[in-house]
């Protein structure tokens, strides 16, 4: 479990039913690729990344992203979605070590 991992998401508070809106997500994570070497020992620093991102709305999958080591530090994703009823947009980031980071935002129809 990593301390101080704080996901941040930008989601509108209300959306027009059936109309697409933009969602942005950011999580602070080093995304250690496994390619870097410790400058002193020469040992490879082991890989440790977020490898999966999932967004669900009222429990239904919205978007799923399979992530490899080439995604930058502090992974950023932007996508476009629509809803037809109010509810909760939930986000999950899964770390190589099994940790899961979560956040969610309610969206109203308006």
């Amino acid at each position: 479990m990593s301390k101080n991992i704080k996901p941040r998401v930008k989601v509108p508070k209300t959306a027009t039913a059936g109309e697409f809106f933009t969602v942005k997500t950011l999580i602070n994570h080093k995304m250690e690729s496994g390619q870097r070497r410790d400058k002193k020992t020469g040992e490879k620093i082991p890989r440790k990344i977020i490898n999966l991102f999932e967004a669900t709305f009222n429990g239904s999958p919205v978007i799923t992203i399979n992530i490899e080591t080439a995604v930058s530090t502090n992974p950023f994703f932007e996508f476009s979605m629509k809803i037809t009823e109010p509810g909760e947009l939930a986000f999950q980031w899964t770390d190589d070590d099994g940790s899961v980071y979560e956040t969610s935002k309610p969206i109203a129809i308006g």
């Binding site: 697409f20 400058k39 399979n66 080591t69 930058s72 932007e78 476009s80």
Partner: protein, 141 residues
């Protein structure tokens, strides 16, 4: 004597701004990228051009290169970087709730082709690629 040689190498290594060891490039080939694409398409080699890849022509910092993909009718879009030590970059899996497009930021080790492949709802595939020039490599941290 051994110590000072190691030190000299370390200093030389530090002087090079990209800390990625060249030996990694030996394993990165467009063939490895092609294999990943093959896995994604199940062997199909027919591609339309129905996918758009937006990436800068010149990436000043290979550690964070903004890219966007879009493909009307796509259920999934994958991105590979042909000259990265590991060519697989990301795969977006869409649903009926999403528009088939997304943006992110990626690492590019060196100037190379970035390839986007889209799997469309009708079972066909689309592919496009862009050459991105990288001035500071993004895999060595």
């Amino acid at each position: 004597m051994n110590l000072s040689r190691r030190k000299a190498l370390a200093v030389g290594g530090a002087a090079a701004t990209a800390t990625l060891l060249p030996v990694n490039f030996a394993f990165a080939t467009p063939e490895a990228a092609a294999e990943l694409i093959n896995e994604f398409t199940g062997g199909s080699a027919e591609f339309s051009d129905g996918v758009e890849l937006t990436a800068p022509e010149i990436a000043e910092n290979g550690n964070t290169v903004p890219v966007s993909v879009a493909a009307p009718g796509a259920v999934a879009i994958m991105i590979v970087a042909e000259q990265n030590p590991r060519p697989g970059v990301i795969r977006f899996n869409f649903t009926e709730m999403t528009e088939p497009k997304a943006s992110t930021r990626i690492r590019l080790a060196t100037t190379q082709n970035v390839v986007a492949v889209a799997k469309l709802a009708d079972g066909s595939f689309a592919k496009t690629s862009k050459t991105v020039k990288v001035t500071i490599g993004g895999c060595g941290g």
